[in-house]
C-alpha cells in the first residue's frame, strides 16, 4: 500500500502516489496550526485556506474518492473544531468532503501534475468550496451570505497562486516509485 502504482483508466495510465508514513497527518496538522495562527499574527492572510489546499492536493494525488472524501471530512471537522463555538461542526466538514471527493475523482481521470492544471483546479475547488459553504449557511443555518463578491475572486486567485508552489513542495513528500 505504500508503493506507487498505476491506475488504469481507459487507455490512460495515471500514477497513484504514496507518501511517507505520517506525512499526510503531519502536513494536515501543520496546515491547521498555521490556519489557526493566521488570524492572530497575520490578519491580512486570513483569506488563505491552507486546509483546503491540503485537501485538494492529497485528493488529486491519492486519486481514491473514498480516501479523498474521508480526508476532506477529517480536515474539515478539525477546522470546524478550531473555528470556535460560532462555527457549527460540519460547516467546513461538508464543503471539504465534497472537495475531497471531487478532487480524488478528477485526479483519477486527469493528469493534474501540470502547474497550470493545478492552478485552475485549485481556483475552481476554492470557488466550489465557498459555494458549498454559502449553500450550507443559507439552507441549513438560515444565515444570509452573498453568493459572489470580489473578495471571493481575489481569494480564489491568491489561493490558486499559492497552491502551485505549495503543491510542488508537497510533491517532495511522495515516495519514489
Amino acid at each position: 500500500m505504500n508503493d506507487t502504482f498505476e491506475l488504469r483508466h481507459g487507455d490512460t495510465h495515471i500514477e497513484v502516489h504514496k507518501f511517507f508514513p505520517g506525512a499526510i497527518a503531519g502536513v494536515t496538522l501543520l496546515a491547521l496550526t498555521l490556519q489557526a495562527a493566521f488570524p492572530v499574527y497575520v490578519r491580512r492572510l486570513d483569506f488563505l485556506d491552507l486546509p483546503l489546499l491540503i485537501t485538494i492536493y492529497f485528493g488529486l494525488s491519492r486519486r481514491n474518492p473514498s480516501t479523498g472524501l474521508l480526508l476532506g471530512t477529517t480536515i474539515g471537522l478539525l477546522q470546524d473544531s478550531l473555528s470556535g463555538p460560532t462555527v457549527p461542526l460540519g460547516l467546513y466538514g461538508i464543503a471539504k468532503t465534497v472537495v475531497g471527493y471531487l478532487a480524488s475523482s478528477i485526479g483519477a481521470r486527469l493528469d493534474t501534475e501540470h502547474p497550470l492544471a493545478r492552478f485552475a483546479l485549485t481556483a475552481g475547488f476554492f470557488v466550489l468550496h465557498q459555494a458549498v459553504m454559502v449553500l450550507t449557511r443559507r439552507l441549513l443555518l438560515a444565515q444570509p451570505e452573498p453568493w459572489f463578491n470580489m473578495h471571493l475572486v481575489m481569494a480564489a486567485g491568491v489561493n490558486a497562486v499559492l497552491g502551485v508552489p505549495l503543491f510542488l513542495l508537497l510533491d517532495r513528500l511522495r515516495r519514489s516509485s
Binding site: 474518492p65 472524501l69 474521508l70 457549527p88 461542526l89 460540519g90 461538508i94 465534497v98 471527493y101 443555518l141
Partner: protein
C-alpha cells in the same frame, strides 16, 4: 444486505458522510424560537404524514359514523323528538308562569300603592259564550263583598262594571260591549262625554260638540260622574276624530288590555286611585297631529256622562 457495486461505493460513502454531517449540523443549530434544527426537520418531516393520517382517520370515522353506525339512530331520533316535545311544553309552561309572575307583580305593586282603597283581586275564569256581548266571569262573588255596579279595573285602566253577582263568582260587562257606558273626560281640555263600546275592540266617546278641539293621541280618563268609577282612571287614547253634526265621532283604544284579561281588581268604594301619571304627562296635544274641528269659545255643552244599567 444489498451489495453496493464497487464503482458506487465511494458515492454511497460520500452520501453517508454528508448526511452524517448534515445531521450533526442540525443537532447543533438552534433557529431562533423554533428550537433545534433537527427538531424542526423532524417535525416538518412527520407533520405531513400526521396530517394525512388524521385526515384519513377523520374520513374513515366520518364514513363509519354517518353511514354504518346508524343502527340506533332512528330510535334515538324518536326519543329525542319526544324529549324535544316535552321540553317545548315545559318551556311554554315556564314562559306562561313567568308572564303570570310579571302580571301578578304589577297587580301587587298597584295594590300596594292604593292600599287605602278597598278592592278585591279576582282571576278571570270565563268569558261570554258568543259575540253578541262582551263579558267576563271572575272567581269572586257575593261572599267576597262583590255587588252589582262595582267598577272593575286593572293597573292599566278601566275594564268594566259588575253586572251579575253569584255566590262565588261574578259577571263583568266590558267597556267594549255595545251596551256599556262610562263617564269620561279628555285629560287636557276636561271635556266630558260618555265612553261606550260598539261590540268591536275600539271604544267611542259620544256627545262632544263639533266645535270642540280634540287631538289624536289625547288621553281620556273617568270623570267620576257615573257614580261607579272614581275619577281619573285611564279609559283610553284618542285614535280617530271625525267631524259630525252636532257631535264629533271619536274612536279610542282602551287603556286596559281588554282582549287578554287574566287578573282584575273589583273596586269596593269610589275613593280615588293612584295611577301612573303617564296619561297626564301626555295629555298635551301632540305636535303635528291634525286637530279636528274648530276650537270652542264656549265651554263644552255635552250632557253629563250617563251609564246604562
Amino acid at each position: 444486505m444489498v451489495a453496493i457495486p464497487s464503482r458506487h461505493r465511494s458515492l454511497a460513502l460520500l452520501a453517508g458522510v454528508l448526511l452524517a454531517q448534515i445531521l450533526m449540523l442540525a443537532v447543533q443549530i438552534k433557529r431562533d424560537s423554533r428550537g433545534r434544527l433537527i427538531r424542526v426537520w423532524a417535525v416538518s418531516t412527520v407533520t405531513p404524514f400526521e396530517r394525512a393520517g388524521a385526515w384519513g382517520v377523520g374520513n374513515v370515522r366520518g364514513v363509519w359514523h354517518h353511514y354504518f353506525a346508524l343502527r340506533n339512530t332512528s330510535r334515538e331520533n324518536e326519543a329525542l323528538r319526544t324529549e324535544n316535545d316535552a321540553l317545548k311544553l315545559a318551556m311554554s309552561q315556564l314562559q306562561s308562569k313567568a308572564a303570570e309572575a310579571d302580571r301578578l307583580g304589577a297587580l301587587l305593586q298597584f295594590k300596594a300603592s292604593n292600599e287605602k282603597v278597598a278592592m278585591v283581586g279576582a282571576r278571570v275564569i270565563g268569558a261570554s259564550a258568543g259575540t253578541a256581548s262582551r263579558t267576563i266571569e271572575i272567581d269572586r262573588g257575593e261572599r267576597d263583598g262583590i255587588h252589582r255596579n262595582q267598577a272593575v279595573i286593572t293597573p292599566d285602566g278601566a275594564v268594566g262594571k259588575v253586572i251579575e253577582v253569584y255566590r262565588d263568582s261574578a259577571q263583568v260587562l266590558l267597556l267594549t260591549d255595545k251596551d256599556s257606558g262610562i263617564g269620561a273626560m279628555l285629560v287636557g281640555s276636561r271635556i266630558q262625554g260618555p265612553v261606550g263600546g260598539t261590540g268591536e275592540p275600539m271604544l267611542t266617546m259620544k256627545y262632544v260638540a263639533t266645535e270642540e278641539t280634540v287631538n289624536v293621541g289625547e288621553k281620556i280618563v273617568t270623570s267620576g260622574m257615573d257614580k261607579i268609577f272614581p275619577r281619573d282612571v285611564p279609559v283610553g287614547t284618542v285614535l280617530e276624530v271625525k267631524a259630525g253634526n252636532p257631535f264629533k265621532q271619536i274612536r279610542l283604544t282602551p287603556a286596559a288590555k281588554l282582549d287578554r284579561l287574566e287578573e282584575v281588581f273589583v273596586l269596593l268604594t269610589q275613593e280615588p286611585l293612584e295611577f301612573q301619571k303617564e296619561a297626564e304627562a301626555q295629555s298635551a296635544p301632540v305636535p303635528g297631529t291634525p286637530a279636528q274641528g274648530v276650537p270652542a269659545e264656549t265651554p263644552a255643552t255635552a250632557p253629563p256622562a250617563a251609564v246604562k244599567p
